[in-house]
Symmetry: C2
Amino acid sequence: MKKKFDIVIIGGGPAGIVTSITAKKYYPDKNILIIKREKKSVIPCGIPYMISSLKSPDENELSFKKIEDMGINVIVDEVEKIDKKGKEIKTKNGDYYSYEKLILATGAVPIKPSIKGIEKDGIFLIKKDMEYLKNMVERIRKSKKIIVIGGGFIGVEIADEISRLGDKEVYIVEMLQEILPNSFDREFSSLAEEKLKNQKVEIITGVKVEEFIGNEKVEKVRLSNGKVIDTEVVILGIGAKPNCELAKDAGLEITKKGYIWVDEYMRTSEPDIFAVGDCALKRDFFTRKEIPVMLASIATAEGRIAGANLYQLKVIRENKGTVGIYSTYVGGLVLGCAGLTEKNARKEKFEIIVGNFEGVDKHPAKLPDANKIKVKLIFSKHSGIILGGQVAGGNSCGELINTIGISIQKRVSFCELETLQFATHPYLTPAPTMYSLVLAAQDAAGKFVKERFS
Amino acid sequence: MKKKFDIVIIGGGPAGIVTSITAKKYYPDKNILIIKREKKSVIPCGIPYMISSLKSPDENELSFKKIEDMGINVIVDEVEKIDKKGKEIKTKNGDYYSYEKLILATGAVPIKPSIKGIEKDGIFLIKKDMEYLKNMVERIRKSKKIIVIGGGFIGVEIADEISRLGDKEVYIVEMLQEILPNSFDREFSSLAEEKLKNQKVEIITGVKVEEFIGNEKVEKVRLSNGKVIDTEVVILGIGAKPNCELAKDAGLEITKKGYIWVDEYMRTSEPDIFAVGDCALKRDFFTRKEIPVMLASIATAEGRIAGANLYQLKVIRENKGTVGIYSTYVGGLVLGCAGLTEKNARKEKFEIIVGNFEGVDKHPAKLPDANKIKVKLIFSKHSGIILGGQVAGGNSCGELINTIGISIQKRVSFCELETLQFATHPYLTPAPTMYSLVLAAQDAAGKFVKERFS
């Protein structure tokens, strides 16, 4: 079968979806097709919550109903080949689709390390496929002993969820010296560690996995420190690599680190092909270096840029480079980070001044459900511009980190932050005299004054 | 007694406190004195929560311990006269204090309308005095029938708190056609109204109070629609006027609306006298018109500007004009507003485009405790710059409105907002494909495209 579409999007994750919605808005007369691989997709960030928080894993299904209602075509199939000269693609089902504009939203594939015994039954990767994940959740629920490998966001959230099921022995095994090592300075990651330990999650850092032991099923894991741990299920959350095979085969430019090269408007080296999301090159906001950030929030921002600019760059938009802005939730504690951590800033040779705040997220502090809140802001010493921030506290931190995120993207200085106007409310924020971002900026300002005059 | 200080601050509210702390940071060698009137002060925004949320009204005390620990002197007295030539003030106790820099943080006094019977027992104003408010709370707790006059923030929060005590008959009487009329468009204020009605608060709008009836104690209130309501306690929350008597007597420039005139750095017409907080002139961020905004968050921002610039404008800072940014909490619903509402924007003759979003503050929406969330953003039609925003939803809206607030202060456009990067998390925000501010901006962008090409 041969069929003609104006806009063809390969991939049904957040990047592909948002590109399609945005394109529909800006180019309502164009005929749009999404080709996705999984029969039933999942909301990627919701995967950990399929274990315990949601009543059923099915509640995490990513529905395409609204998208189809908008007049966007969605099919389940797999693209095998892109003919960029003929502007046509061929699928596994043997169908051909021609396009005016092609968008690669092919995402990433979980890293499967070459560890002895990796093929044993009971070892799961974080695949964005409903059937696969339902099986994983069922196995977790039935088991007593579970090992999570990787102490990044996904590993931490999964361990947190498993521990909420009760009566489980959960381990996190992290190769580096601490959990959440890329996103937080130690004084923040240690708060997450404390929460997990209180929930009886055993955290083992600075150690690699050397072997999975067992007959058909995984029964034990041997670590580089010689320890052997019994287990029934292993979850591998050690990251993902960009899924660029199709692009490579089609002769598109691929970066050294294996991403599809894109310009500021998400255009690949081929004028009518765009790439968005985890498969596309990310440039760091501060240094323009290539960085491996895979976040649905970034992917959707890229989808909006691509979708609006498919035919003309008529609305000037700009991908200012990627700022990692994340939040996570561990045992009721919310942690958020945006931009550079102190250690990453120093590693990049930024001269910095740090401002800290510790307080309470309600005022007076005796109001019910008040949480401790902790904020750290990193400023460039010479220019005063904000480079990064970290927050820890109650649920309000989920949006607080976005205020820091926008401050970074708008290059706000500590002077501005110190005198900016904020809303405060007894039930919702620290006191107006003690507003978190202002006080952290003021702390930095104090150090700035001291250094200048000493 | 005569005593010499470098910096004298009249007023112990948020503006005075923050000025003192900031001055101490920037000019650590200066000798600072705060003169406050009330023996025991209260946290102003916490006043409604003394009624029910806090175990005891005393928990809302504004403590000066930390300030005294910083080496700032605090006395309870009342200033009677400023001798601006001699740079000296005289107090009620008969003491004289000389100063290099004087800061007027004299706040506002609640408006007491000249309604017949206003002096009767049981009628309370919102005075920032612990003893007075404790008496008010006690009377409320003992009574069955309470009328709150004024449907602004304070009235709404007080009515909400009273209704939580249970077994009370509570009324709100508002002169205008709706509650929260200055800060919200109707589709938002109606959400607050609904919550209050569910809690059995009776809301009467478009009606004035004509008489308070009773012997010594207030027993009935007669309204302009002829209705007479029984009551035991009346709370008047109809606003406040700047407390400028001292400044006027000293010959400082007073504005038409009765505020102390200040420049961008909070300096009055007298070089060594500053004014901050509710008593000082506010200029609207968008029009530079004089506006009557009295918020602790604004007062503290002004205190920071003044405190840093008392002796030199050595660090360039700028009061960009006042953006009203508020949040409130009614029956578990959080409402926030920043900048212009649609009706105020139209009244000022701004040509605007409105972007709306409705969704859920968690993803998937079936996660426990998910709340509906509603966002409205107002953009300038020609320039695309954001002018205002309103939010309604769960607790995360308390910080979400600050992201809008910073966007207004940094003059972000809908194009920027549509492609800015945000953190999203299942437990903390809408989905990355559905992030509230982005979707509202995108809704506006769609209308923008439509208008341009039609």
